[in-house]
Structure formats: structure tokens, C-alpha cells
Symmetry: C2
Amino acid sequence: MTIDQFFPVWDQLAPQQRELISASAASRTVSRGTLLHSGSADCVGLFLVRAGQLRAFILSDEGKEVTLYRLFSRDICLFSGACMFSQLSFDIHVEAEEDSLLWVVPPMVYQQLMERSAPLANFTNQLLSGRFSEVMWLLDQILFRRFDSRLAAFLLEESAIQGTDDLSITHERIARHLGSAREVVTRMLKYFQSEGMVSLSRGTVRLTDRAALSALAG
Amino acid sequence: MTIDQFFPVWDQLAPQQRELISASAASRTVSRGTLLHSGSADCVGLFLVRAGQLRAFILSDEGKEVTLYRLFSRDICLFSGACMFSQLSFDIHVEAEEDSLLWVVPPMVYQQLMERSAPLANFTNQLLSGRFSEVMWLLDQILFRRFDSRLAAFLLEESAIQGTDDLSITHERIARHLGSAREVVTRMLKYFQSEGMVSLSRGTVRLTDRAALSALAG
């Protein structure tokens, strides 16, 4: 996977601009569980995900986590270069959820290019709007959906990501994604099991009635 | 207040670009309570607030409202031109919270200019980042703060906006801002009153201990 594939506007960049991105991008291999970015004071640069899976989340003072969104192959993580956006004033954390292969573009390089290139600035606008939409979806879920609906939506999403109905995931980990407590997740999963929607065993959740889960997810 | 004052990058636009914005902007007077924008299907254009106050909020299927942020004189509302951002997929509603005077810039005009002008596209990036930060603040409040803390923060913010410690606001209206129920707001305000932080009478909330409210707001 080459670097031009990340940028639909690659053809609209000048040759020396393309060269600057290619030459300044550093390759980085990270293993599952690595914390890659931590809060707005941290400004490593743009992460271009070549392979693997990243997770962006927020963290409370008490250490409670809530997943904002995931990044997959071909995705770009802007907020690991938060210092490029002077009006940005929130703290996001990014970890590798799988072993991953990244390119890291230095924030000063990207910012310099964006200031001069209308296509790159407009592309960045679209990236920002996309992430904004994911966070608005989450806000809607948290404000207006019940916990059973959020859990059902999470299990279906996780099944799509893992590509199987047999999820390898602990109740603790589900709780961290949803900003809930392990006990609350366990209680709800047991209710799902009693309704025939899932089957539980140690460290796994098997989806046994996707239609019912979809109806619940809304 | 002239239109160039809304755009810190005005000097970096070409004369014909400035002319296009000035010539296409329509003046609009709206009275308090007017719904100006409703969801992403609605794409009236950018609102430039010359005077007054707008409120952006989200709405559940059951009609529950939650305030996202307010717009004051010199602020620009991007999402009333949501169609400019192809990756934007959420519904925001905007109402005039006071009698207001606006300029409305057609979305096609702004989008066309933004596509060609790197300064305007970067300025738009900063606007997006600012709104994103306000929504992230709200998400943090909802996920990690208790209701008493959110209510105290709201009363202090409202006092700053109205410029007085005597707030003219009903419990019903506070509930709509915070996405809560009137009964819950009334109960908490009565508790605040018993602690000497506010004094309640019909249609008004007087702040009587700002220090205690600030401590609670965190």
C-alpha cells in the first residue's frame, strides 16, 4: 500500500508537495496494546494506517474509558497531530488495538502543506466532518438510547470487525468501550443469553440471534 | 458590523472573492423562538450572526432536546450549510434564542470559494475544530460529570450570557438545555436552594453563592 492511496487529492498536489509527504513520512510498527497518542499536549503527527487497527477513546479523571471510533487500513488519524488545529481543545487517546503498521507524517509538514493547498485543506475538512459525525452518533446513542440497545449495536459492530459471530472479548473490555461497569455488562449479557440472542463462555460471546440483536440496536 | 469582520482571512481573499461573498449574502431578521435550521437535509447556508443569539441543539425521536452550543455576535454557523460537507451525517437544529440579525451566505457560493481558497478552507477547518471541541466538552460532561455539576455549570454560563445573577428562565427550559426532565431540574434546584446557592421564585433563578456553584461545576 503506497502513500498516495491515502489521499484522494494526491493528483491535485504539486510534485514537490507529494515529494515532501513521501520523504517526511516515517514508517512505524506497533504491537497490540501500544498507547500511541495521549491528549492534546501530545502532537506526534498524522497516523496513516497501512495495516492493523487503532482505537480512539476518551478518559475520565477516574480512568473510565469510552471508545469514540476505530481506525482501519487506509484511515487517517488527524488528532494525533492535534497541535495543527489551534481551536482544538480536547484530549483524545489512541491505542493500537491490533499489531499495526503506520506511516507518521510530521504535523509541521502537513500543516505547512495544508496552509498552501486548497485541495488538501478541503480534504482535511472532510476528514474532520467524518470524525465529527462519528462522535455525534455516539452522543446520540449515549443521550437517547438505552444501554441494551447500545450493547446490541456494539456486539454487531464488533462481529463485523472481527469477521465472525464468535467474539473473543471479555466483559471488562466491552465495559471499557461503552464507558460502563463490568457488572452492568455481565448482567445485560446474561439477559441477552436468557433471550437466546447470545451464548456466553469464558472470554467469548457468540451471537446466536443476529435479527433480534439488530432489532434491539434499532 | 460589516461582513469582513467575520473573516480573519478576509485580506487573503482575492477582490472578486470578497465581492462574491458581499454580493451574495442576504440580510435576515429573525424573532426569538424562530427555528432556522432543522437537520442535515436542510441547507440554507452559513449564518453570520450580526446581533442576537442562536442555539444549536439535537433532538431525539421522542422530542427530547439537548443544547450543543450557542452562537453570538461575530459567530458563524457552519452546519446550517451542512450540505457543503459530504462526510457530515448528523442532524443539528438551530433556533434564534433572542431576536437576531443575520447574514446568510448561500452554501454553493461558500463551497465554491472554499474549494479554491486555501486560507478560507483552513479558516473553515478552525471553525469545525472549535465546534468539535464544544461537543467533546459536552460529551465529557454527560459521560463523566454528575447532574448537580452540569446544572451548576449551566447556571454560571447562563449568568455570564444574560449578564446578571437574576436569571429569567423556567425549569422546563433548563431541562431542555440539559436533556433532562423538568422534575429532575426542580428537585436539584430545590436542593441548591436548601444549600443557599440559589434562590427560586416563579420563572427566575437567582444565584446567591457563585463560589459554591463554581466549586460544584468543577
